[in-house]
């Protein structure tokens, strides 16, 4: 045992193939489904439909970026659907009262950040289960959205505000651009910063992370705070698209976001997750929904199909781990 202490026979080629397949399988599946739809469904590739598909991806995609961090750290956040609605309402009200787009967006983002901070502090410092904590804040924030809006949609008349939802840059709608930026930014954050690596470590083994000197509590609070902030951003964009803040919007949205992540391969128990998982999951869900709409499949059947796909995906994931 004198020379080459690290030499261990490694079957390099076949192992890499398998890893490659594991890592990219869902993204390939998304591409496959896209091609299939393009071939089989008329009008699927039409500019109008592509635009609609892109917009459908954008809201879920933005929120899924930070949900990835929640899931990777072994938690999740149910309050994001309510945050989206409340952010839209807050932005609309502040703009109505102050005529300032900046103030409106600022207030909405601040609200999201506060909700996220509260979630994070209760979960990290008071050690309350994330399910219960965010279930509670989900209801509180939803209630607040209704109270602020007095139960009905709040219209926005500031033209400048509509840029976020309906503007275009080089022919690409702004929400899609923001989504792509989010994918890139949070993918980078997860892999190339101490914050991202610590998030993965906490999800992988919280006790070991603590003993290795990771500031577990602070990282958790940051994860939820950023998630609240980004949820609010998604809400602002949605409000801009609809030119109003609607308190009833985004019910069940949190489950769609979590479904998308898990469908793409993010682990619910923490420690496994990559941005390409999120992208794959979001794409697959959106393409299938779009295809079903084009095929005029009844909404009721759409629920059944969506649920079945999710179940199938997680079952395949379990089988892979055997």
């Amino acid at each position: 045992m004198t020379t080459q202490p690290n030499a261990l026979p490694s079957a390099r080629k076949p192992l890499d193939m398998r890893a490659l397949l594991d890592n990219w399988a869902m993204l390939l599946a998304a591409v496959g489904i896209f091609v299939l739809c393009a071939l089989l469904i008329d009008n699927f590739l039409s500019p109008l439909n592509m635009r609609g598909l892109g917009l459908a991806i954008s809201t879920v995609g933005i929120a899924a970026c930070t949900m990835l961090f929640c899931l990777a750290s072994g938690h999740f956040d149910l309050s994001v659907g309510s945050v989206i609605a409340c952010a839209g309402v807050v932005a609309a009200i502040v703009m109505r009262d102050t005529d300032s787009v900046m103030l409106g967006i600022g207030a909405a983002l601040l609200m999201g950040l506060m909700v996220g901070l509260i979630n994070g502090i209760v979960i990290a410092k008071l050690r309350v289960n994330a399910l219960i904590t965010t279930l509670a804040t989900m209801q509180i924030v939803r209630g607040l959205a209704y109270i602020f809006a007095d139960g009905k949609a709040v219209g926005v008349s500031e033209e400048q505000f509509f840029v976020f939802g309906n503007g275009q840059l080089f022919g690409v709608p702004v929400p899609i651009l923001i989504t792509i930026v989010c994918f890139l930014f949070f993918g980078w954050l997860l892999n190339y910063t101490t914050y991202g690596r610590n998030t993965m470590a906490i999800g992988g083994n919280p006790e070991a992370a603590l003993l290795a000197g990771v500031n577990v509590d602070r990282t958790k609070i940051l994860i939820f705070a950023v998630h609240g902030l980004i949820g609010a951003l998604a809400g602002v964009i949605l409000a801009s698209r609809m030119t109003s803040g609607q308190p009833m919007i985004g019910q069940g949205f949190e489950l769609t976001v979590i479904s998308a992540c898990v469908l793409g391969g993010v682990s619910l128990s923490g420690g496994i997750g990559m941005i390409r998982h999120v992208i794959a999951g979001v794409l697959i869900l959106a393409i299938i929904e779009n295809a079903m709409n084009l095929k005029n499949i009844d909404t009721f059947y759409q629920y059944v199909i969506r649920g079945s796909i999710l179940l199938l995906a997680v079952v395949i994931d379990r089988m892979k781990q055997r």
């Binding site: 045992m1 202490p5 690290n6 261990l8 026979p9 490694s10 079957a11 390099r12 076949p14 192992l15 190339y192 910063t193 101490t194 914050y195 690596r197 610590n198 993965m200 470590a201 992988g204 083994n205 006790e207 070991a208 992370a209 603590l210 003993l211 290795a212 000197g213 990771v214 500031n215 420690g271 496994i272």
Partner: protein
């Protein structure tokens, strides 16, 4: 009622890319305790998993008597009278002892659990094994030793004739070990086939009638006559080379006091504890299970807050509110339970090495530097001789010894003043052990104060300059290396009432 012999016939098991077992053949006879020995990764656990039905062999067969067994799952194995008592017991802590004993076939009356009958049957099961256990007690309230007895009782109640123990004494106290040994002797006298996997030489020589040695998934040889076998012969056979002195102790120069502990009190400690350790010194902490060794380490590493007393590091007062404080000061802990508290199993070897030091080597403290990340991981893998195909390998696929070396690499990436090692070689094979002792010596020689907690008396005596003995949450005595003997350390470690 004598059981038939258990024969392994040319057993092979391959996993993708790894040959875990290759042509293993030997026979364990009824009325004998048959030890399986070998370094970690030698294939003992894989063989037990095949015996227990958890793995299906790639080739060869298991035979009981003349019958070839083809276990497809654990239920097949149990039905054929085989019981494997694993290190991690398969019991439900929230349920009662009786429910655990009969889990899966609880006695019922019209579909409702018959509590009276259950208790009766449980009592009959435990009789002679652990008469003091109340069947209605919640299992989680029993000691580890008692839980193991429940597992044995469960196996016997299912009519097991082949009983395999996997490292059964790794977390038992001396008294519990004695009791287990008596029970194993009884099983042997009743004519059962007993397989016994252990790293502990003294136990193998004490209880076993035959030893089969494995190395790297291959059968080496079986010793049928223990009386003519020596300790050294067995070790040589396992390692495949002579080991003169695996501890390789060398005297070192000691500097000023590195860590001074003064009147420390906290959870798990009964009396205030004071001691000091010098730069370059290796201080052993010995004590039986429950002596407060791990609790003391939890205080020194900032995991638990002290209720009284003070710490001083190189003459300066040290306040610990969290592990981060200890790490920032250079007091670094390698925890006892590597899987639970040491490694992040899903992460790569590189991640596990870099996690603690990276903040100091990142731009603005948070933007990772690719060059440092790669360089440091490779450097530590080289220096610690971590055996891994590459730095990106998930650490969960490494052996225990290599995981431990990776954690040492994690701390060597940091400025270190005091290294706390809690059971540094538990569950690690002899080859990797001696490498870890080397590392410990080199660290001490470079001026680091090392405190080693161990329940392995030979290890404590082999590597320490000075040994402190704890007993029931209090410091009971101190011995310098030259004066330490097994008997005087044990004398100090035994609770006063039990010393006889």
């Amino acid at each position: 009622m004598t059981a038939a012999a258990l024969r392994f016939d040319a057993i092979g098991k391959t996993f993708p890319g790894v040959k875990a077992l290759d042509g293993i053949s030997f026979t364990a006879h009824p009325g004998q305790v048959h030890a399986l020995m070998g370094e970690n990764g030698a294939g003992k656990s894989t063989l037990l998993k095949i015996l227990g039905g958890a793995y299906i062999p790639s080739s060869g067969s298991v035979q009981i008597g003349a019958q070839v067994m083809a276990f497809k799952n654990a239920a097949d194995s149990i039905a054929s009278g085989v019981a494997v008592i694993h290190q991690e017991l398969h019991l439900v802590p929230e349920m009662s002892v009786a429910e655990n004993l009969f889990l899966g076939h609880l006695p019922t009356r019209l579909g409702v659990v018959n509590r009276g009958l259950l208790r009766q049957q449980a009592l009959a099961c435990l009789k002679g094994l652990a008469d003091e256990i109340d069947p209605d007690e919640k299992l989680g309230r029993l000691s580890l030793g008692q839980r193991q007895l429940v597992e044995i009782a469960k196996a016997l109640s299912r009519g097991a004739n082949v009983i395999a123990f996997d490292e059964p004494t790794s977390s038992l106290s001396a008294r519990e070990i004695d009791r287990l040994m008596a029970i194993i002797a009884r099983l042997r006298d009743e004519g059962k086939v007993v397989l016994y996997v252990s790293h502990r030489m003294e136990e193998v020589f004490r209880i076993c009638d035959a030893v089969t040695v494995f190395k790297d998934g291959r059968y080496v040889r079986t010793f049928e006559d223990m009386s003519s076998l020596t300790h050294d012969q067995l070790v040589t056979c396992m390692v495949g080379r002579d080991i003169q002195d695996i501890y390789d102790y060398r005297a070192r120069e000691q500097g000023e006091v590195a860590l001074k502990v003064d009147g420390l009190l906290g959870p798990g400690l009964r009396e205030p504890i004071s001691f000091q350790v010098r730069k370059g010194e290796i201080l052993g902490l010995f004590g039986l299970v429950g002596a407060g060794r791990t609790e003391l380490f939890r205080l020194l590493s900032g995991l638990e807050r002290a209720s009284a007393g003070s710490l001083a590091l190189c003459g300066q007062a040290l306040q610990l509110r969290s592990p981060r404080d200890a790490i920032a000061a250079g007091v670094l802990l390698c925890p006892e339970d590597r899987k639970k508290e040491g490694i992040i199993p899903l992460a790569s070897v590189a991640e596990n090495i870099n996690i603690s030091a990276r903040a100091a080597h990142s731009t603005f403290g948070w933007l990772l530097r690719d060059g440092w990340e790669k360089g440091n991981a490779d450097r530590q893998i080289q220096a610690m001789r971590v055996k891994t195909p590459n730095a990106a390998q998930k650490i969960m696929y490494l052996s225990g010894g290599n995981q431990q070396k990776a954690i040492l690499g994690r701390w060597l990436s940091m400025p270190m003043k005091v290294l706390l090692l809690d059971e540094p070689t538990r569950g690690i094979d002899i080859g990797a052990k001696s490498e870890i002792y080397q590392i410990i010596h080199n660290l001490a020689a470079s001026g680091i104060a090392v405190i080693v907690v161990s329940s392995d008396l030979m290890e404590v005596m082999g590597i320490s300059d000075r040994i402190l003995v704890l007993c029931e949450g209090a410091l009971r005595g101190e011995q310098r290396r030259e004066h330490a003997t097994e008997s005087n350390l044990l004398q100090l470690a035994l609770p006063r009432g039990a010393a006889n």
